[in-house]
Every structure is written in structure tokens, then in C-alpha cells.
Symmetry: C2
Subunit: 100 residues, 2 copies
């Protein structure tokens, strides 16, 4: 599989506008989410896990009860790529369906 090209600062700035609640932190895409309960939080993570596995691009996940933190980066490209924004967009869509 070809490794996608690392995005420039300008491209990242532009792509961030299309997302909901994400910021760049230490060069990675970062978002905190809060759900009504653990059931919704883990349901969201399970849906995201399936998307991530299909993409072969996996998020860094932190979860405690109804709170989820996602951190995205493309290790092989040493930075952010289209894969990170694609996964972030999927996370936004899935979380909206789950009362985040």
C-alpha cells in the first residue's frame, strides 16, 4: 500500500475547517468526546474500530466511562495525511448518531 503524502500546514488548516471539534496537538489530530453513558461511548468506539480496520488506519483511543479521546496521526508519513482527516470525519459522523 502506498503511504499517503504528509499534508502541509496550509492543507491541515483548511481541512480542520471541515471537521467538528478537532484541533492539532503536538502534530496530531485530537478530539475529546462525551456521551450520555458508557454504552454510547463504547458503541461509538466499536463502530469506529470497524471503520479503522477497513481503512487499515487506526486511532489512538482513550476511554473512561462516557468520555473518549481520539488522537490521529500517520506514523509511516511522520505527520498528518488524508487518512487522518478521513478517519476524523468518520468519527464525527458516528458520534453525531450517538448523542455526543
Amino acid at each position: 500500500m502506498t503511504i499517503p503524502t504528509r499534508l502541509t500546514a496550509g492543507q491541515i488548516e483548511q481541512d480542520l475547517q471541515t471537521l467538528k471539534g478537532w484541533r492539532v496537538q503536538e502534530g496530531k489530530l485530537f478530539r475529546e468526546l462525551k456521551f450520555p453513558s458508557f454504552v454510547e461511548a463504547f458503541g461509538f468506539l466499536t463502530a469506529l474500530a470497524l471503520v479503522a480496520e477497513r481503512m487499515n488506519h487506526h486511532p489512538e483511543i482513550y476511554n473512561v466511562y462516557n468520555r473518549v479521546t481520539l488522537t490521529l496521526t500517520t506514523h509511516d508519513a511522520h505527520g498528518l495525511t488524508v487518512l487522518d482527516f478521513e478517519l476524523a470525519r468518520a468519527a464525527d459522523q458516528l458520534s453525531e448518531q450517538r448523542g455526543e
Copy 2:
């Protein structure tokens, strides 16, 4: 639901002997696990999530690809209780079934 009693240092020391790979870190039960792939890692987390929800006692979860870190504590008791050791034992059993 009654909040279980916080365990003493002696009880914690003794209960730790019955677990696999756990240590106490900043007053919490802590274990790092590594699986063959994300599928096994997330499969383990899903099984653990069901157990946690049934117990109404939830772990702090960190996951990146095939690695999982679990941190357990009983917030209401301000320390470790039998619930944490029960959940840790469940995690040990579930991880053994998944090639950790």
C-alpha cells in the same frame, strides 16, 4: 448500590499475587497488554466492556493498534476495592483467550 470498602495495603499486596502482570501505580491497578493485531486487541476490549457494564464498574482504557493499557480504581471509594480485582481477573481471563 453499596460502595465496597477500600482495601488495605496488605490486602492489595495479597490480591496482586492472584493476578497476571498487574502492578499498582499511583494507587491504581495498572496493566499493559499486547495482542497479535488490532482485531484481537479490540475484540478483547469489547468483551471486557460487556463485563464492565454488567458489573457497573468501568476501566480506564488506552488503545493504540495492538496495544492496550488498563487502569482500574474505584472512584467512589477513593482507592482500590474488590471490584477492581474482580475486573482485573476478568481481563486476565479474556486476554488469555485472545493470544495476548
